[in-house]
Symmetry: C2
Subunit: 296 residues, 2 copies
């Protein structure tokens, strides 16, 4: 078994990630027909696991998959956490596919873990240059076009991956999707958070974005620390006027955007460090080196 | 090995489809990051294989995957065709994923075959009741937003699958996606063709649809038989005014739409049979029972 990746099954056992797991005919593979979550594990703590399992269940319901068994997933995650023999942060992706039967009676489920990449950790420290990319989705359809899978974290992530490759080809680090009218949506793998004065804002799910697990954790910690938190539409102009623009996810933690579409934004290094500390305050067993790298 | 499914590899060998083939970390599985084609094999002839391999190569290029090796794919398809020990039509899906390395240096490729389903064959005979569903994509972005993967047949097909499930839940058989202004786009797994007088029309790729392989074959045969063929925008009103509305794909062949959004369309049974015969005329070794079922 290679030691920098890990595969855990729902019966609580580990398997060799180098050995094929999934049949060619699995609809998760053939059609991107399944759901996932990515959980950050640090100091043996799977962060926000309840929230991730809740979102996995919502995604599964919207995709017509059987409800995930929380006890089995906890067993699986516990096995992964126990089996991770490295000091690195573990990025643990929980996957549930429709499997080989269209009626969902033979789903495939597993957790696959890799270390958080050095590049991701570096970008947490340095911040990112982001490009805004049109997502081309009409927000007016959200809530009345369930077939478009708004708010579902499905395995059909090719556009998200393509957007990330596109901005990297342009020399940038990350993307922020926008609606046709310029309203801020989300990153391909993150939630957008904007700070202005003592207010933190993020985009509402009613615009078709995925509700952020890390963003929700940050907002809970920030609100407890005296911040106002709001879920409301954010305009492109808001990004340029903000005290700070941040991308949040299990992998991003709180990553500041220092440059947007080639324009330098206000320096938010200190604010990023502050928000990162607020987020870290939610987790037990933290040590200096577990704090967001932006603080070091 | 179960005998109603088949797995062929690019070295020209067959493998057991019941044995897992793909690692958990394959990006085709984890992120729908890959491309596919579905080829109809009938009487040992893989139909329109050149066109399918061309489109596979275009999809791969747009996704930043290495160019597929046509010789290897032909070897793989030949092995599948030779190994298919049943009289049924074979629906052969060619899959190429990014594999386990983000840089595409370790892609996964295979062909997976199953019989064309009895339901699909029945719908070719009876025609389908279709619902028009908004796709929510702004056609104005096509050609200037490569990250949206217009014209790429990617593995990220969850929306296509969800649309199909949605219409079936509503008691219909198939869907026709429309643009925000009502312009006809495509089916979730098919191309839309409209007949009016001696003219056949289909939606241009410039609106973000996938150019149809079966539609192109039908148009070539129809043009040779004296039809005018046009690739131009089709309005919702055009569908109701048409002599016939058809869905084409390897699986659909030429399937007529008899009902759209609950409204019965003009009876196009004879026209469907005529177009199906035109399509069949392209393929050697055909027999009476190989003609489109609409003719029987």
């Amino acid at each position: 078994m290679t030691d920098d990746r890990l595969l855990a099954l729902l019966d609580g056992t580990l398997a060799d990630p180098a050995v094929p797991l999934v049949r060619a005919g699995d609809l998760g593979l053939m059609r991107g027909d399944g759901v996932f979550e990515t959980v950050l594990v640090e100091h043996a703590v799977p962060r926000e696991l309840d929230a991730h399992l809740d979102r996995l269940a919502r995604s599964a319901a919207l995709l017509g998959l059987p409800p995930p068994d929380p006890a089995a997933w906890r067993r699986c995650v516990a096995a992964a956490v126990a089996g991770w023999g490295r000091p690195d942060e573990l990025s643990l992706t929980l996957v549930c596919t429709r499997g080989t039967a269209p009626d969902g009676t033979a789903t495939t489920a597993f957790a696959y873990g890799i270390p958080v990449s050095p590049r991701r950790r570096q970008l947490r420290r340095t911040g990112v240059a982001a490009l805004s990319l049109e997502r081309g989705l009409d927000p007016g359809l959200v809530g009345r076009a369930p077939w478009l899978l708004h708010g579902v974290k499905s395995l059909s992530y090719a556009v998200n991956m393509a957007a990330t490759r596109y901005v990297e080809e342009q020399g940038a680090d990350d993307a922020i999707f926008t609606a046709p009218d310029g309203t801020v949506l989300e990153g391909p793998t993150s939630t957008v958070v904007v700070a202005h004065g003592d207010v933190l804002r993020t985009t509402p799910a009613s615009l078709g974005v995925l509700p952020g697990t890390t963003q929700a954790a940050l907002f809970a910690a920030a609100e407890a620390a005296g911040w106002q938190v709001r879920t409301e539409p954010i305009s492109a102009a808001d990004l340029h006027a903000a005290d700070g623009v941040f991308l949040t996810s299990a992998g991003h933690k709180v990553t500041r955007v220092h440059t947007l579409d080639g324009t330098r934004l206000r320096d938010s290094s200190a604010l990023a460090a502050h928000l990162a500390r607020l987020l870290e305050s939610r987790y037990p067993n933290r040590a200096v080196h577990s704090c967001n790298d932006a603080t070091t």
